[in-house]
């Protein structure tokens, strides 16, 4: 059995203070010593992005 440290899912580099939901906070999960065959992928179905203030005008 190949036992190792798996990163189940790595997604975004959320900054500190950025509003994060449960899905986001669990997006990166280190599954210690789990068998490859038991590896479960979590779906990150919702991601909120900060765009207010995004525009190209001075």
């Amino acid at each position: 059995m190949n036992r190792c440290l798996h990163v189940v899912r790595t997604t975004l580099n959320y900054p500190k203070g950025f509003p994060m939901d449960d899905a986001a906070t669990t997006a990166t999960i280190e599954a210690d010593e789990r068998d490859d065959s038991e590896l479960l992928e979590e779906e990150l179905l919702v991601e909120e992005v900060s765009i207010d203030g995004m525009c190209g005008v001075y």
Binding site: P15, F18, G53
Partner: protein, 497 residues
């Protein structure tokens, strides 16, 4: 607030949905939040949740297997927390806009699109950034400059504005563009110029945007804002206003924006406050001369109950001439980064993603969105990859071409290239590349640096090294449309322009 899948839910009536290949984009006109729904089934669920007695019923009807229910329940919890979904009181009828002109009416292509994409590949293993880099069905952020005419001659003007161009779009042409944007599901447009309020049809086109379900955020120097106009703006839904101010005091501001411009901007803010407009934005371009005034800008915003929006100075347009004198020093960049980290409520709109190489990422997409999630339409209808690269090399087409804006956005060769994987080039070996993505394309281009090299303001200092070895310090403005009505120079002391 605890999500319960056995209860009925509804979509907030202020939310608009737009189909995308990965699922959908949801934009909340009330709290200005944008959310990616990263599965077609979730998009279908959010769209139709009003119709089911419980969320579980919706899961079953859409065909979501029970093994995936926990992930979907987490997603709905998140959407409820962000205000997109809410538990439904069946005693209160669901009230959604049925008029297709409404910004929050369900996109007309939704039913057929959902049916055809339910078998789309799952999103596992891909990041949001990966998905956005390959492009969207329409821009997230579309900047539209309405005129080159301007009552000011700012030394950093991105579009070198001043005089009206005789080929500027007519009112009817602009309305046809609005129709195209509505059909594409564009949530809102960022209107700039020049000074957009100089157009005699300004209110006519703004009101047409809103009537066609396209939200409006416009920037003004405030010089033409009157009490009456502020009241008219305050009476309109889906309109945001941004007042430009580049110094907390007259000396600092007017050196960049021209004599009397500080007083005009403050008077416009007073008018908006007196008209109960609500939370307008104060927009500041960060320069070497005003970074020390950050606290003052914050206090001014608090004084008006406004939001503070900071943006990065680029060497574009007339900014090429003032770049060397005005762009922040390395020390100032670190000051700004620390200040922003402590104030996540200050809006930057992804402007300073190159600073993320200093450590924690700042809020935003943290990628160059040119041709992927942003673009610009100029006053004559030409479409550019981003608002900071008004240059022939980055012109993707024209809204006057067959197929209009949609054709340019979807099929331009330039945009297709920008949506391909980009080389990290000289930055590939830098440990900070994942954070800064090599910085801003426009800033590199106009300082003569290769697009796959470091940003000239690279916080690791590689940009300065690269500039030292570059023969061309600033790209000449040939290929750029200059509408300045007089030579402009930075007035470090108060000068008229």
């Amino acid at each position: 607030m605890t999500f319960d899948a056995t209860k009925p839910y509804r979509l907030d009536p202020r939310v608009a949905l737009r189909p995308e290949t990965f699922g959908a984009l949801a934009y909340h006109y009330g709290n200005r939040r944008l959310t990616l729904l990263r599965a077609p089934e979730l998009a279908a669920l959010v769209r139709s949740v009003d119709q089911f007695a419980t969320v579980r019923d919706a899961f079953t009807d859409i065909g979501i297997s029970s093994t995936r229910w926990p992930a979907f329940e987490k997603a709905i919890t998140s959407l409820e927390r962000s205000g997109f979904l809410a538990e439904r009181d069946d005693a209160i009828p669901v009230s959604r806009a049925t008029d297709e002109q409404s910004p929050t009416a369900i996109h007309p292509d939704f039913p057929s699109w959902i049916d055809s994409t339910l078998d789309a590949p799952p999103t596992r293993g891909t990041t949001m950034a990966d998905q956005l880099k390959t492009g969207l069905n329409a821009p997230i952020c579309l900047t539209w400059e309405w005129t080159y005419a301007c009552n000011l001659q700012c030394v950093h003007c991105l579009s070198s504005s001043g005089t009206r161009d005789p080929d500027e779009l007519t009112t009817d042409q602009m309305k046809r563009i609005v129709d195209d944007l509505h059909d594409l599901g564009v949530f809102y447009v960022n209107i700039g110029g020049g000074e957009p309020m100089l157009r005699p049809d300004f209110f006519e086109v703004v009101e047409y945007c809103v009537s066609r379900g396209v939200g409006v955020k416009f920037s003004t120097n405030g010089g033409l804002m009157t009490a009456e106009k502020a009241q008219r703006l305050a009476s309109m839904d889906y309109v945001d206003v941004q007042i430009s101010l580049d110094g907390i005091d007259e000396v600092t501001n007017d050196a960049v924006r021209g004599s009397g411009s500080h007083a005009k901007a403050r008077r416009a803010m007073d008018h908006l406050r007196d008209a109960d407009f609500g939370q307008f934005k104060i927009s500041v371009v960060m320069t070497r001369d005003n970074i020390e005034q950050l606290d003052g800008f914050e206090q001014l915003a608090e004084h008006y109950g406004a939001e503070l929006r900071l943006t990065r100075f680029r060497p574009s347009g007339r900014g090429a001439e003032s770049w060397n004198a005005l762009h922040p020093t390395q020390t100032q960049q670190r000051t700004l980064y620390t200040w922003l980290l402590e104030r996540p409520h200050v809006l930057t709109g992804d402007s300073f993603f190159h600073l993320s190489a200093l450590g924690e990422a700042l809020p935003g997409l943290n990628l160059c969105g040119a041709g992927r999630v942003v673009c610009l339409i100029d006053p004559v209808g030409d479409v550019y990859a981003c608002p900071f690269v008004l240059h022939d090399d980055f012109k993707a087409g024209s809204v006057r071409d067959a197929g209009g804006f949609g054709e340019v956005w979807t099929n331009s060769t330039l945009f297709a290239g920008l949506r391909e994987p980009q080389s990290a080039g000289a930055c590939a070996s830098c440990g900070a590349y994942d954070a800064c993505q090599g910085g801003c394309m426009a800033t590199k281009f106009f300082t003569g640096l290769p697009l796959d090299g470091p940003d000239p303001e690279c916080v690791k200092g590689f940009g300065e090294d690269a500039l030292a070895g570059t023969a061309v310090a600033i790209v000449p403005v040939s290929g750029t449309s200059d509408h300045s009505w007089a030579p402009v120079s930075l007035g470090r002391t108060r000068t008229s322009v």
